[in-house]
Symmetry: C2
Subunit: 193 residues, 2 copies
């Protein structure tokens, strides 16, 4: 997605070989028009899949999931990293290790909103080691639903997440694929489309 | 906002005199079309304020802030409850006690995205005791910006949050105002408009 790549080039910051800071438009401040375009791009790429519902993970997955859900006219659910007093019943759970935050979060989703037999689109902001995406697929499958596709805003293609997901047979669509980060420089996987 | 009140009546659950569960459409599963209407309603109510930016709090504020930002054509920023490796520089911070989660969170916002002199609209999903909204106003003002208005999706009008905000001179617009919760029954403040 050219507009997203341009935005990453202009406003993203490669802090090291592994860390890309995109808090100017994706995971702290959000550019709503870019996010609308991201929703349209996911809706287009997954238009053939007959999706019932979208599942994402709080917090940075919420904005892209919101816009994709609006474009596809389906509800979305955001998995929680911590339980609240009002979210306790009938949960499916999975453990997700975050390399960025250096901690394991137990993520959860209510079975009331992901039902057996449904076709689910998983959306997340980043794909690196695949921990969050795999945790989300585990939640969806524990609830008896099927992961029809996985949509990623920014993929760090030099890390193993994509390969892990493909090896398990998931369809993965990433809107921007980064081949290399060097302090001050960001390279992209050459777009096939 | 009638459509929101209807949705609360149909899908909200009063668990006790203080706890309203709205995870079917607001803070776990999200109804994207309702959220679009919520964004339009906020944009209309605050149209006169010449807003530069929207500030909300992760996670449940993100969807309504996203749709309001899109309607108003301004960026939004979500304050973080925990710091990540890529969000450490030049923060403003405030402490917020959550009665629902029974814990204090230190919330933070980067000064890079809320600038001195800007006019900020604060958006949040719930207003009860006012802790979260007051924490957000503290962040905005610490950054040297002005809180031009506060938009709340659901206000529990029998709790003191609204009065606290009005006493400090803030303009508060709540799309649904609940006057009373009883197990199994939800009453609304009579709408003036």
């Amino acid at each position: 997605m050219k507009r997203l790549e341009d935005k990453i080039r202009e406003e993203g910051q490669a802090l090291s070989e592994h860390v890309l800071k995109v808090d100017a438009f994706l995971n702290h401040q959000v550019d709503p028009v870019l996010m609308q375009d991201i929703g349209k791009a996911f809706a287009e790429r997954f238009a053939d899949l007959d999706i019932d519902r979208i599942v994402t993970l709080e917090s940075s997955g919420i904005a892209p999931a919101m816009m994709t859900a609006l474009e596809m006219n389906v509800p979305f659910v955001f998995a929680r990293k911590r339980k609240s007093l009002t979210l306790q019943d009938d949960l499916v759970e999975a453990d997700v290790y975050s390399f960025t935050k250096q901690e394991t979060n137990r993520i959860s989703l209510s079975r009331r909103f992901v039902k057996p037999g449904e076709r689910i689109l998983v959306i997340d902001d980043f794909l690196a080691n695949g921990e969050a995406a795999l945790g989300l697929t585990e939640l969806v499958e524990s609830a008896g639903a099927t992961v029809a596709g996985i949509g990623i805003v920014i993929e760090k293609s030099f890390q193993p997440g994509r390969e892990k997901l493909l090896a398990r047979g998931y369809r993965v669509e990433s809107l921007a694929r980064i081949s290399k980060l060097e302090a001050g420089h960001i390279s992209f996987v050459e777009a096939v489309r």
